[in-house]
């Protein structure tokens, strides 16, 4: 039988409980934000955890795998490293491997990347006229790897309705559910 028992729950709450629920919700959101920002400080990367969204690094990384990034400025970029970089005009960062690198005396570095699964280098992916990546384009360098964990993100990306459904369910659950 369908019944709206959870609405009864809301109705039975008094103001104090309602505030408590809302504050609880706010605490979850803010602690998630704190962890994220804290990780940003510790790793030096603007996005310390990324989900692999394309198959261009197969068979090393598949869609839905999770990467942990660091981006320490004093740590030099070297060939063979897997970097996550942003290109002007694309909002999604790309995870590829450095295959060519030139570093000048003063430390300025330019490098070229390629996906393991791609047959050509990335010059076609860069902004028009851009031949090399520079230090500032790098979001992070891959340090750790966990498979499959980001699969929910992939589902959410592929099916936006699924994303809204999940968000709505989670939000409603946190607000309405009483221990």
């Amino acid at each position: 039988m369908m019944d709206f028992g959870f609405l009864d729950d809301v109705r039975r709450m008094n103001k104090r409980q309602l505030y408590y629920q809302v504050l609880n919700f706010a605490m979850i959101v803010s602690s998630a934000l704190m962890i994220w920002k804290g990780l940003m400080v510790v790793t030096g990367s603007e996005s310390p955890i990324v989900v692999v969204l394309s198959g261009s690094m197969e068979p090393a990384f598949h869609r839905g795998d999770l990467l942990f990034l660091t981006n320490y400025q004093e740590d030099p970029i070297r060939v063979g490293e897997i970097v996550v970089f942003k290109v002007e005009g694309r909002d999604i960062p790309i995870v590829h491997r450095v295959i060519k690198l030139h570093e000048k005396e003063d430390g300025t570095v330019k490098f070229l990347t390629k996906g393991d699964n791609n047959s050509v280098d990335d010059r076609g992916l860069y902004a028009p006229g851009q031949l090399w990546l520079h230090r500032k384009d790098v979001v992070g360098r891959a340090r750790g790897f966990v498979p499959y964990v980001g699969i929910v993100t992939i589902l959410m990306n592929d099916y936006p309705k699924f994303k809204y459904a999940i968000l709505a369910c989670l939000g409603a659950f946190v607000l309405i559910h009483r221990e």
């Binding site: 068979p59 090393a60 063979g80 897997i82 295959i99 000048k104 393991d116 750790g144």
Partner: protein, 181 residues
Amino acid sequence: MNTVLSRANTIFAFTLSVMAGLTFCCFLTTSMNDHLSPIKIDVNKIIVKNVQDFSTTRDKNDLGFITFDLQADLQHLFNWNMKQLFLYLTAEYTTPNNKLNQVVLWDKIIRRGENARLDYRSLHSKYYFFDDGKGLRGNQNVTLTLSWNVIPNAGTLPRISGVGSKTFQFPDEYTPGNARI
């Protein structure tokens, strides 16, 4: 625990946590490996040309051609927390323009279960050995190293250089543009 659904939820959550713990333990058992291995590189033919680099500025840049031999037995590097090895052969050198140049000439993916005993003769490079300028002709100190990037099932992604590298020098004269090796 009072309904079938809540029991299913608890069991599932518990299994997932145990799975995470197991994965972490699996990573711990292999985290102490140094992944080192001896390798042997030899260079056969070395020539350098001065040609237009169409992929960059269309200026005339130095382009090196080498063929190389490669021997390595990497079988013992594999363990239960290794999905694949990404091998790459790097040429490293200094030019007046740049303090450090690194160019990957060749790479190979060895997945677990594939043959990890390498024995190549007169291998051609997979990628063009273009310098960023004219720094290859007569360059006395070009070092070839074979390195690998360990891709685990879960864990860190170390990059290790093989023990043993090869240093060679480019000839002092350009080979005419249309000559082949």
